[in-house]
């Protein structure tokens, strides 16, 4: 059980660290943004709190130091500087490695922790006094009249699981001002029924503070969704004179814990004599009893709302379970296809109706199952921000990264696999693309270079663009290198596109020197292969002196694709529909007219084609009229000759297993409605192989 909690804490901590990183990077740009400072502080605070709760004492004590510094920043005693951000980023990395170390059981680097803490302390001591003077006046202005609030804090049962210790929140409330805390234990079950890891208690707190209601809400900011929180002002002390006898009875009884608010409700509703007696003896005015009753009613209503709030909260599920679900949905889609086919064959109206209903439900189920795995790409983007920051510092360049479309959603597995290729592309932009500040100024460009990262939905794909305003690709250098490597011949006439595509050739690197950032020869070919493994495509445009733009197109999901079902002899094949442009007929005469060259005339354009029957050595004769499925890969149109085109198909992708791992031209398989297996064609690879065979 404890492991499960530790795991939950770690997951939460990794998320917080990611958030922390992006907040820090933003803070560097806008050092006066109080909102950001608050976010950094709260992230540190939560890591510390949950860390100590789950026995990550080293992390808790380390984070405490950083939190202290940011508390000073928050209170205006310390200013945000580049050095502070650097140290805090280093601290963030340190916390991360401590978390990693906790897993492997290795000791974290204590020396590094100590250095960061010393650095931070120095910074605090050095800068502390400077801001103190200026701060004094502000504090004076901010001083407000104290207000007394009644706070009811009812954590959700499972609040411990999320790593939150409600007591630290209560302790924070105490820091805000004079505070009376009453734990309400009335709802406790008996011992046998109590789940020791659930939270049953809730609190009524009376707090007098001059910090305002927002300061109170800030305390609960990370548990807002996990608790029932009610804050109401009950007395403002500048007007205290007028309200002196207002609500005194209930307030004090509850405050002292002499009576719980529930007890009071029972007393007030059942023993009417109490109220009546009090009124008749002139101790209480009727209105006051009414006010108390109304208050009880209010609390009751809020409690009922709690049920609703709990139902709409989110849950954390291991990714494997989702994968299993998606797999099952995949099987389901396959079975549904068989059902539809059988129903159509039987010509049974009742069975058809059922099959149609199942088809509709399966489609919905498939869409929502796939939807669960969708994540915004923004988390990956913010990781890159850090990469750009660190690398540009290392290379002595000034680079700003801008992003767009961070909310664009992609399948989780796709996002994970996309990380490395994108890192590589961004590194390339920084290392080869953007020039040094001197060179930029000399070229009449702003000193600071820009790398723009954007993501946008287009159909069933996501288009990711990495654009820089650097030097652009050097066509001559590429040509020279291409000839040197024997990829092209000396006199070859190449379009820009073809020339740029050369950089995806294996072992191609134009960098004259090998830097630590890029240029080790493992380059763009690896990127291209990784993108193609995701059934995506990559495209480059570049203008010398103005910059380079790399476009990566990636399908939304890896589990199910729309494809075109085709037949050659008795074998079925699938072609990803996203790559298919059109289908045209190919007659025996056409073949004869081409004189053995595999070229087809399509609207006055020559399209090369690959006869798949030949390619896969499938025995038998092709029909009189064959079909050419014309595909488009990286802007090049290539046809594939098949016997018949059957139609569109929802394809659940199954991998071929390890034995067939290196099979070229096939990217997977699927099971058809009648139970037979259809192979999914790896179109980009087939095109590549054909090109290689020609050259």
């Amino acid at each position: 059980m404890i492991d499960q909690h530790r795991q939950a804490f770690k997951e939460e901590a990794y998320e917080l660290l990611a958030e922390l990183e992006s907040s820090l990077l933003e803070l560097e740009e806008r050092p006066d943004d109080q909102d950001l400072i608050g976010r950094v502080f709260r992230a540190m605070h939560t890591i510390k709190g949950s860390g100590s709760m789950f026995g990550f004492d080293d992390i808790a004590s380390f984070t405490h130091e950083v939190e202290t510094i940011f508390d000073m920043v928050r209170n205006g005693k310390l200013q945000v500087t580049g050095r502070l951000v650097n140290l805090t980023l280093a601290a963030r990395d340190q916390i991360r490695s401590m978390l990693d170390a906790a897993d492997s059981g290795e000791a974290a680097d204590l020396q590094a922790s100590a250095e960061i803490i010393v650095g931070l302390r120095e910074l605090a001591g050095f800068q502390g006094q400077v801001a103190a003077e200026a701060h004094k006046e502000e504090v004076h202005e901010a001083q407000k009249d104290p207000v007394t609030y009644r706070i009811r804090f009812a954590p959700a049962r499972e609040i411990f699981v999320s790593g939150t210790n409600p007591l630290t929140l209560i302790a924070e409330l105490r820091e805000l001002g004079a505070c009376t805390v009453v734990a309400q234990t009335a709802g406790f079950p008996c011992l046998e029924e109590m789940n020791p890891e659930s939270c049953y208690v809730y609190w009524d707190v009376i707090l007098t503070t001059d910090q305002g209601e927002n300061a109170i809400r800030d305390v609960f900011i990370f548990v807002e969704d996990d608790c029932e929180l009610k804050i109401e002002p009950i007395a403002e002390h500048n007007r205290y004179e007028e309200q002196q006898d207002y609500k005194r009875l209930g307030e004090i009884l509850v405050e002292r814990g002499d009576i719980t608010s529930d007890d009071m409700r029972v007393v007030l509703s059942q023993q009417k004599r109490f109220g009546e007696l009090a009124i008749s003896q002139g101790i209480l005015h009727e209105g006051k009893v009414q006010a108390a009753l109304a208050e009880q009613q209010h609390i009751k209503e809020v409690r009922q709302e709690k049920q609703v709030a709990e139902a709409s909260s989110s849950i954390r599920v291991p990714a494997e379970r989702l994968d299993l679900l998606v797999n099952l949905v995949g099987e389901m889609v396959t079975v549904q296809a068989r059902l539809s086919q059988t129903a159509a064959q039987r010509d049974d109206a009742e069975l058809m109706a059922i099959a149609e209903e199942v088809e509709r439900l399966t489609a919905e189920l498939r869409d929502s199952a796939l939807n669960i795995r969708m994540l915004p790409i923004g988390s990956t983007f913010s990781k890159f921000k850090r990469l750009v920051r660190d690398l540009s510092a290392e290379l002595g360049k000034q680079i700003e990264m801008t992003t767009e479309g961070a909310e664009t959603e992609l399948d989780k597995t796709v996002i994970e696999k996309l990380n490395d290729p994108l890192v590589h592309l961004i590194r390339n932009s920084i290392d080869h693309g953007i020039e040094r500040p001197e060179a930029r100024v000399a070229a009449g460009k702003p000193e600071r270079g820009t790398v723009h990262l954007s993501a946008v939905h287009s159909g069933d794909s996501v288009l990711i663009t990495i654009a820089d305003d650097g030097a652009g690709l050097d066509k001559e250098a590429i040509r020279t290198k291409g000839i040197e490597r024997g990829i092209i011949t000396a006199g070859a006439e190449l379009s820009d596109k073809e020339l740029f595509n050369l950089i995806f050739a294996p072992g191609f690197s134009t960098a004259k020197t090998i830097s630590s950032v890029s240029g080790r020869g493992v380059g763009m070919d690896v990127v291209k292969r990784a993108i193609e493994a995701l059934r995506g495509s990559i495209d480059i445009t570049s203008v010398r002196g103005e910059g380079t733009r790399i476009m990566v197109k990636i399908p939304l999901t890896l589990a199910i694709i729309e494809s075109l079902l085709v037949k050659i002899g008795n074998d079925s094949f699938m072609m990803p529909l996203a790559l298919v442009d059109e289908c045209v007929e190919l007659t025996r005469e056409d073949v004869a007219a081409a004189h053995g060259r595999n070229l087809a005339h399509v609207r006055d354009q020559l399209v090369p084609y690959i006869p798949l029957r030949e390619h896969f050595a499938i025995p038998g004769d092709p029909p009189e009229i064959e079909q050419i499925v014309i595909t488009q890969v990286s802007g090049v149109r290539v046809g594939f000759v098949v016997d018949h085109v059957i139609g569109e198909h929802q394809t659940v992708i199954k991998s071929l297993g390890r034995a067939y791992k290196d099979t070229e031209g096939i990217s997977g398989a699927t099971i058809l409605g009648d139970g037979t297996v259809a192979l999914i064609l790896d179109i980009p690879q087939l095109v590549q192989a054909a090109e290689a065979a020609q050259a």
Partner: protein
């Protein structure tokens, strides 16, 4: 974090009284063990004393269990006391968590609330 030590024994002076000695720290990780120990102690006698004088820390889960144990004892007609020997850690924890109070809760028919007053 000191490990939780639980020891339940018969009070030699008072037959039927079980004394559960709790030392170390009660935290969410060991709350399950603590619950079992409390149940066992309650099933073994008509009166249970929980000795927390050697406690070095207790979190919310521990406080909740003590409260629930008292509730269960009351329902079963048994007596349940806490002896803290003036342990400041325990008292601070109970106070800061808002458990300490002047009168017992609604279940408390016999004025035996474990949080009322000081040592008993």
């Amino acid at each position: 974090m000191e490990e939780l030590m639980l020891e339940c024994r018969q009070d030699p002076a008072h037959p039927g009284t079980r004394v559960l000695k709790v030392a170390g720290e009660v935290s969410i990780g060991v709350a399950g063990d603590f619950k079992e120990a409390l149940i066992e102690a309650l099933s073994g006698g008509n009166e249970v004393q929980v000795d927390v004088s050697a406690l070095t820390g207790i979190d919310l889960t521990g406080l909740q269990l003590l409260c629930a144990a008292h509730h269960s004892a009351g329902t079963a007609g048994k007596e349940f006391h806490i002896v803290d020997g003036g342990n400041p850690t325990f008292r601070d924890m109970a106070t800061s968590a808002g458990f300490r109070r002047h009168t017992g809760c609604a279940y408390d028919r016999a004025c035996s609330c474990i949080w009322v007053g000081g040592d008993n």
